[in-house]
Each structure stands twice: as C-alpha cells, then as structure tokens.
Symmetry: C2
Subunit: 452 residues, 2 copies
C-alpha cells in the first residue's frame, strides 16, 4: 500500500492525495450516517487525466476506490471500508459550456447541483433535476445515482436527461462520449449503464445534460383530500388538464411534522391526504371540478412566491433528520392504483407488530414513488432489520421497487433480490466483472462481491 | 447441425421450425436489400418459454441466431450468413395490457407497430413512436434498434419510452423486468443496454411502453425558408413558442422528388429549405413574426386533415426506393448549428468528386438528425464505398453520429469507429462477451467478432 500511495502522491501532488490523518472527517459517511471507517486516503484529482492516472495506479496495486461526491446519499454507497481510498472530484468543477441553440450543458463532476441550476437559469433554461440537497450534492454523484426528485414528473430522471457522458474505468481507460446528440444509434447505450451504477463501474468525470425551456408561469396549490384514492383520481384529472411540474402527496403524520418544521400550517385541520400541485397552467378550473366531484375538500392557491415557498417548506420538512434522530428512510415505487391500500395496510402492520413506531408517508405520487420515514424512540439493529423486512416484503408483494431514487448502496443490498430476479443480478455481476475484473470500483456496493 | 434441428423441431413443432427449403424468401433480407443468404432455418416460437428453450438448444450447439422482426431495417442487421438460423416472434404478438391510470402498455415483440398505436389510441393515448414502416415493423425490432422517427422531438426515443423489458439471453435465461416503474434505482439499467443492441445481446420478447396523453389539437404548416440558417433560427423560436411534435427539413432536391411522388406541389417554386412544422398550439403568430424577421418567405397552414396529410406525403416521399433504385441511405446526427454548412459543403464535395450524383437531404432537424439519399445511374461497389467514406469522414469531422436512427448492422460497421472511440468499442465488446460468450447472438452485427 505504501508503494501505491507514493505513486499516487507523485501523480496527484500533496493537495491531490491526502493520506491517513489528513483525510477529512467529511469523508467518513454519507447522509445515511452509517459510515464507520475513514478512508485510507482521499484522492482529489484536478482533471480527467489525473483521474485516469490515479485509477491506473490503484488498478495496478489492487487498491479499492470509493468515489465520493457531496456525501448526500442515503444508501451508504459512498462509505469506505478499511483500506479503501476515496476519490473526490471536488477540484474538477464548473460548467464547461452551455449551448443555447442545442439546449445542452456540459458540466464537470465536481460541480454542485445548485451551480449547474444557476448557470442554466442564467442562459434562460431550466436544469431538469432538482432536490433538497441541491446546495451540496455534486453532478458526479447525481449521475452515478440517477438522481430523481419532484421534477421527474415533468422532465424525467437524470438518466433521461444525460445526453453525453465521460467516465473513467477501473483501469484508467477514459470513455468519453460528450457529443450530446439527441439521437445516436452507434452501438450500446453505455451512458445509461453508468448512470445509476453507483460508482461500481467507473468514475463519472463530465456529463452533457439536456436543458429545458423556462416555463412561462408556475401555478402552485395545496389541496386537502378525503383519501388517497381521491388523490389518484385527481392526478389523472390533472394530467389531462395541465402540464404538471410536481404532484406531491403528504399523509397526515408527515403533514403535521412538515408544518411544525416549516413553522406554518396552511390547513388548520390535518387533511387525510394533502397534495401539493405545481403546474404550468392555472389550476382554478381543475380544482373547482375536483371540488364538485368530491375529490378535493379544500384548496389553497399560492398567490405569491412566498405562498408557494411556504407550501414547499411543509413538503420538504427541512430538519427532519434532527427532529427524529435515528429515523429510517424508505424510498419505494408502488403501482399508483395499489398505493392507497399499500399505505393503509403497511401503517396498520407496523402499528400491529411494532407499536409506538411513527410512520410518516409522503412522496412523488405522480411518479409512483412513495417515501416512508419510520421512527421509534429506541431503534435497535434487530428492530430496524425487522422493519426493513416488513416494508420490503410488502413492496415485493406489489411488484414494486425497493429503491425508486436513493439507490442500493450497502443499506439495501440485502433487499435487491426483492425487486430484481437472480438472473438480473447475475447479469449485473457479469457486466461488473467484464468492466472491473479486479473489483476495485466501489466493491460491495449495489452488488455483493462477484468474487465471493 | 442435424441434431440441433431435430431438437428445435421437437421443441417448437413443425410450424415453429421451418428448415431449409421451407424458410420463406422474406427471411433473406431487410429493407437494405443487401441480404444474400437464406437462413438455414426460421424459428418461430409462440411464447417466451419457447424462445428460452430454443435459444438454450442453439447455445448448446453453438448455432448462431439472427433475430428478425418486420425486416424493415436499413442497416443489414437482420440478414443471416450461411449456416445461421433466423428467429421470428411473429407468432408472439398482441397488446397484453393497457394500464390507463399509469399510462403504460405491455406489448409482445411480434406486434406490428400500427397495432400498438391503434390500441393506444383506443385507450385515449398516443403511442410515442411512429415512422413510415409502421404497418409492417414489429415492436421487437423497434426496441432492438431503438427506433426513432419524426416524433422523437416530442416524446423522445424508443429507449426513453421503454419502462420495462423482457429479454431472453443467449443461453436461454429470461430477464424479465416488466414492472414499468417510472423510477427504479435497483441496479444497472439493463433495459437501456438491450434497447438498441440490435439483437446482439439477446432476444426482446415483451416491452412496457410509456403512453402519452392525446394532444387536444394538432396544427401543421409547411414553410418556405430562404436558407438553412433561417431554419435553425425558426426552430429556436418555435421551441419557445409552442410544443413541437415535428420539425422536418426538406432541402430542394428532396422537396422536388417528394412532390413528384406525393403528386402534389404545395409551393410551386422550390424553396431553398422547406420546413414542415407540427405543433400542439396554433402557428399563426409564430410564423407571422418569422415572416417579419425574414426567416420565412412563405407559409401554408393546413386547414384540414387532408392538407396536413398532403404536407406529410411530400415529406415521406413513399416509393422513393423504387423511384431511385440502388439509392444509398444515410442517417447521421450533426450539431444543429453546424448543419447548414455541413449540407452545403457535403453537396459541393460530392458534386466535385462524383459528378452526376444526386444528393437529397432531409431530416428531423429538431433532433439534429439529418438524412441523406445519394443516387447515381450507375452505382458500383467501389463508388458506394468511396461515397460512404466521403460522407462519414465529414460526419467524424463534425463530431457527429454515423447512425442517428438506423443502427450499425453490417452496413455501417466499418464506420462505427468514426463516432465511437476504440475504448468505447472495446467496452461494448467486453459486455458482449460477458453476456454472449459463445457469440451466437447475431454475430458480426454492430461489432466485429469479439473472438477475432
């Protein structure tokens, strides 16, 4: 290892290779707060060439590499094990180019999402991806985890918006395909394979994103609904009436804590289901009809940007991690029609088996994406595992996805087989082995070791 | 081989396994009309299980398999070599389910595109993909080649619209992921890898497609423009004013032959560039401003469905293959800003080096996708190759794609390296070897043999 570190130091310089005690504490864990070990070193290459050289050195020495972005992931995918080195692209940042005519943008992996969003806005466009950690998450991590968020309903996932990608493979080979063509049928879609591969196939260095025209006006409303079935009906009605840019559902327990944290309470009485709608057309007519049809019991229109921000603040519930320490975070996909019964059934089952557990449901309902937060005053490991099993068994029963957005990392690896067949997992392992035969790229994340 | 055929016959029955003289002539060649050899057998499994069993037999016997759909491809990707067997899913057809609430549809591979489109329309939706061969191309081929067409500007490519996929691998393993979740971060995006893999990684059996709401009204206009630079400016203006569902460019030679074949001539004088716009909002205001700005010299609004059909008939130029026998078909992506100069420069170069060659340019300009048809009264193989080289060298010079829509097949295999780096091609070969180690799946298509 000493020899490898000497080579890395020579290659990256002292500011590009922090070893042992110099590795900052921030490299220990992502937002899942489950990282136990500080990486043996933190590599900070400042350009693509340096990434390539550093990986070639690691490859030769069989040094395992954990790519780290803004450390905002929730699945443990960026946490290192003993003897592994972390690789950060924080020094390789910035928007390289905005092509206004083609409506594309080339961004470096170390760029913070908010910076890319601002550059897109300055050029008169919308950057397609947005979520709560925009101020610290990095483009490389966003690509590696196929970031989602509330705008997927309007612009699609990260994968759908990456038109070109540059990745460095385990052995240092640079795969660069940054042309950004909308249509390109020259062989396998390598970029889609790397988007969402959680750093297990290579290190993302640059990406070309599709940009979207700015919507003329945005209309936001918060609605109180009699039940979740009404919400699915409202969604269908909204889809055919307006262009939705968000359709977020908040079940009662989540609404209450969201209000508490946001220090605002739009509806005094807690709705059975609260829906935040954002659209590019006025919502009055839609909601009037919905009211007459009994789908909506009450609705508040945002009359100002401040109103809209207040609605979103309830939905975002910033500070939840601190308010409910040790909470468990779930992020599943459930077929829309099955979602109301799924929430009711799961709430009852949790209360039955683990009384005293708080179940907070919310989610990007328009995408079939449900989030669940579980909290107990005392959450020991066996209980947490049993809760995982209870939730994921029900997701499997619905043919849903155990990870809609957050990825598998280490925390959901045990449950991957609930959404993917053995044949699919074997196929993923075959691809992993083909591209990273010595398993140096983020080993043990997403997949169990292929060598074991 | 006899033994393999006996097993295949026993497995698939006489109607599921046509051998030697029973193989229909239609299995010889796709629309590129370059197929020389009739397959040794045509396998016609009637369900997924039969596909799996048939491939397992072929795999055991190292029998090479060429998947065939509607034989409408233009790259030779479905043509067999001596001793290879073809596999058709024509007997496994039909729409399995339309989920109106989730706006998805599960379709079998042997389904003709037009059938899927009609089923979507009956359920109140638009099927996202459309192109000229809709009456005979099949869903399996559409998925395997990542079909494009004029609607990509509105709904995206096939890959962007496939939410779930079932594929049978070379050894008969069934990979089924038909949940159709919009958001699913449970590991590698295997489906995107198979979409566009041209039958080299497995056989597509079923796919779940995203459906789209029917647009309220469609507005169509045909415009005469002073030059191609005006067209790129008009495109930018149109994008911010309306929701485009087509933006098609016809250069003069193509316009003239399109009129001839369609037996209509909307503009008596041939425009320098003719643009067909289709949008979901009225076009009058946009075109009025464009007229004032000198971007448009004349414009015709479709006042009826018949008008719109006539405009499209000029664009589609049905019968072109017969009118210009032996024509060469190009399908490239070029950065929008570079497109006007690219067309002018290429036209001049062709006229200079190969006088007497007719160059017909048209394309899905909104996607940066340019089609070119070349025709000479006498087109011998060396001339055709020299023309290929001339065109693709210029595409390479622009950093474009040598295949935007049609795929690589055999006809563009030599030019793949003009759009993809050696590292990318090696990575594709590594994936191919991992999933099809004996190279029985459509060998020699897209990639040269990995074993050679």
């Amino acid at each position: 290892m000493r020899e490898a570190f000497d080579e890395l130091l020579a290659c990256l310089g002292p500011s590009g290779c922090l070893i042992g005690p110099d590795v900052p504490e921030a490299s220990r864990t992502d937002e899942s707060r489950t990282g136990r070990t500080l990486p043996a070193a933190l590599l900070r290459p400042a350009d693509v060439d340096a990434v390539s050289q550093a990986l070639a050195i690691c490859h030769r020495h069989r040094l395992r590499v954990v790519p780290q972005g803004g450390m905002t992931g929730l699945a443990g995918g960026a946490n290192a094990l003993a003897g592994e080195v972390a690789l950060s692209l924080a020094r390789f940042h910035g928007v390289e180019a905005v092509d206004a005519q083609a409506a594309t943008m080339c961004v470096r992996a170390g760029t913070v999402l908010a910076v890319a969003q601002e550059a897109a806005a300055e050029a008169g466009f919308v950057f397609p991806i947005d979520y709560g950690s925009r101020g610290s998450c990095q483009i490389g991590g966003l690509v590696a985890t196929n970031g989602g968020g509330p705008r997927v309903i309007r612009y699609g996932t990260t994968r759908a918006n990456v038109l070109g990608l540059e990745v460095v493979l385990a052995d240092g080979t640079v795969l660069s395909h940054l042309g950004g063509q909308l249509k390109d049928n020259t062989g396998y879609d390598l970029k889609s394979l790397f988007v969402g591969s959680e750093g297990t196939l290579g290190v993302v260095t640059r990406a070309v994103f599709r940009l979207w025209p700015k919507p003329g006006e945005t209309y936001t409303a918060l609605c109180a609904l009699p039940d979740a079935r009404a919400a699915t009906a409202l969604l269908a009605a909204a889809r055919s009436a307006v262009t939705l840019s968000a359709f977020e559902a908040l079940w009662p327990a989540y609404y209450d804590i969201g209000c508490l944290l946001a220090k605002t309470r739009p509806f005094a009485a807690t709705p059975a289901v609260c829906i935040l709608i954002e659209a590019e057309q006025p919502l009055e007519a839609l909601l009037e009809t919905a009211f007459e049809d009994g789908l909506v019991e009450d609705a508040l229109m945002a009359r100002s940007y401040a109103d809209a921000r207040a609605f979103w603040a309830v939905r975002e519930a910033a500070g939840l991690d601190d308010a409910l320490p040790g909470l468990m975070n779930f992020d599943v996909s459930i077929e829309l029609q099955a979602m109301p019964a799924f929430v009711d059934g799961l709430t009852a089952a949790i209360e039955n088996v683990f009384p005293g557990t708080r179940s907070l449901f919310f989610g990007h309902m328009g995408d079939g994406n449900l989030h669940l937060i579980l909290h107990r005053d005392e959450m020991d490991a066996p209980t947490a595992h049993a809760l995982d099993e209870l939730v994921y068994e029900r997701v499997r029963g619905e043919g849903g996805s155990v990870s809609a957005e957050h990825g598998i990392g280490t925390l959901k690896r045990e449950w991957l087989g609930f959404s993917r067949s053995p044949a699919e997992i074997r196929t993923m392992q075959a691809i992993k082995s083909a591209l990273d035969p010595h398993e140096i790229m983020n080993p043990g994340k997403l997949l169990t070791s292929c060598q074991s």
